[in-house]
């Protein structure tokens, strides 16, 4: 089985993605307007929100891959679910780091039990359990099946978590994502560019991870 970067196309894509990310940072630092009251703190929102969206998207992928795996038992769905769960959790951790960094100057505190932040934290904890289940599940085929089930169950939990936390605290604070539709195009455009670039980064990471899982799987069979 060949190495991922021994294929020329993958190297080119990797360099391309890297360049895009550098461009993205440059674009955000230099070409976005300063928002009154927030100044530099607001810049993190160009990363925070796309990363959060992609994090949730990858958990959606985990659920869909889980359903498909339970239906036809093809290893590729299991790998897709696992890879998406790993990258999703990485992104969710980044959300949990960037959220407080933004919240400290704006809300004056590192952490509030704000609905989105709390939902993300609970999801993160569920996925910690997911990886433990993957590691300690025992028989490999059974572990894949259990992980698929857990991915589905976790996703069904999300809306309930969100609504329970939302009404848990009556006072409701403004959140970067809520304001996006009211922003002027100078902000929306770089935001969309960042979203697209992070989506490309995510797909590349997913492809890489799928490759690694496939190689490991084939080794085990041999």
């Amino acid at each position: 089985m060949e190495l991922f970067f021994s294929k020329r196309i993958n190297v080119i894509v990797a360099v391309f993605v890297f360049t895009l990310m550098v461009f993205n940072i440059y674009n955000i630092v230099n070409n976005t307007p300063m928002v009154p009251d927030q100044f530099w703190a607001q810049k993190i929102f160009y990363f925070h929100v796309p990363i959060a969206w992609i994090g949730f998207l990858s958990y959606l992928i985990v659920m869909i891959a889980g359903i498909l795996y339970l239906i036809n038992k093809k290893t590729v769905w299991d790998h897709l679910g696992f890879a998406a769960a790993e990258i999703g959790t990485l992104f969710v951790v980044l959300v949990l780091i960037t959220g407080p960094i933004w919240a400290k100057p704006i809300w004056g505190t590192w952490w509030t039990w704000e609905p989105r932040l709390t939902t993300t934290l609970i999801l993160f904890l569920i996925y910690v359990g997911y990886f433990m289940l993957r590691a300690f599940g025992g028989h490999p085929e059974r572990t894949s099946r259990y992980a698929a089930v857990l991915g589905i169950v976790a996703f069904f939990d999300v809306p309930i978590i969100f609504y329970s936390v939302r009404f848990w605290e009556e006072k409701y604070q403004s959140h970067p994502q809520v304001e996006i539709t009211k922003q002027n195009p100078e902000i929306v455009l770089p935001f969309l560019i960042s979203l697209v670039i992070i989506t490309i980064l995510f797909s590349f990471m997913l492809k890489y991870r799928l490759h690694v899982l496939k190689v490991t799987h084939n080794r085990k069979i041999d």
Partner: protein, 221 residues
Amino acid sequence: MMFYTLVRKDLLLEFRAKEIIIPMFAFGLAIIMIFALSFNASQAINHAFSPGLLWIIILFISSLGLNRMFVLEKEFDAFTLTLAAPVDRGIIFLSKAISGTILLLIAEILIIPPFIIFMNLTIPSDWHIMVLILLIGDLGIMSIGAIVSGLSMRAKLSEMLLPILFFPLVSPHIIACVKSTNYWFKGLSFINWQFWIFLMISFVLVFFLLGFMIFEYITEE
């Protein structure tokens, strides 16, 4: 019919051996004592905290009970025989969730009087509403609990995996349980907090349906 037989089997086993309810009760009592001693607070503070404490205790004893229920199934490989029964796997899930709920309710009936006494609480007169909250709460806890126990029972470190998976998944439901208990305890009329009851009911429905559909894949060999 088969559902009834399975629930009866679980309950009969328990009433003869008392391996689940007695440990749940003893553990619950120990937590209450620790709570009461470590807070050593005035009655007003106890009143403010008690709904949350009550549901923490229920959550702890339910994870103990769930663990025990499914470990019992592992002894002599009993679960394989249960699976061999000519019955839809979803029914097995339902029977586990329902018998778990009944056992948890019994444990709660034992645990709540000492809780009230040790925490020095005065209870509103419309206590039957609380019974309803407990019932819906227990159904929710046991529905997700049965799914998670099914996932973790045959894993290595199953007794550790169960709470790690169980607590975050059940957290929205527990929030709703605590909220509605709190409002009931403060004596607010139902119209103010019906949202939480609806949230609990939707949690119960979602996870009973999901468990019913998905348990087949958990138990497949």
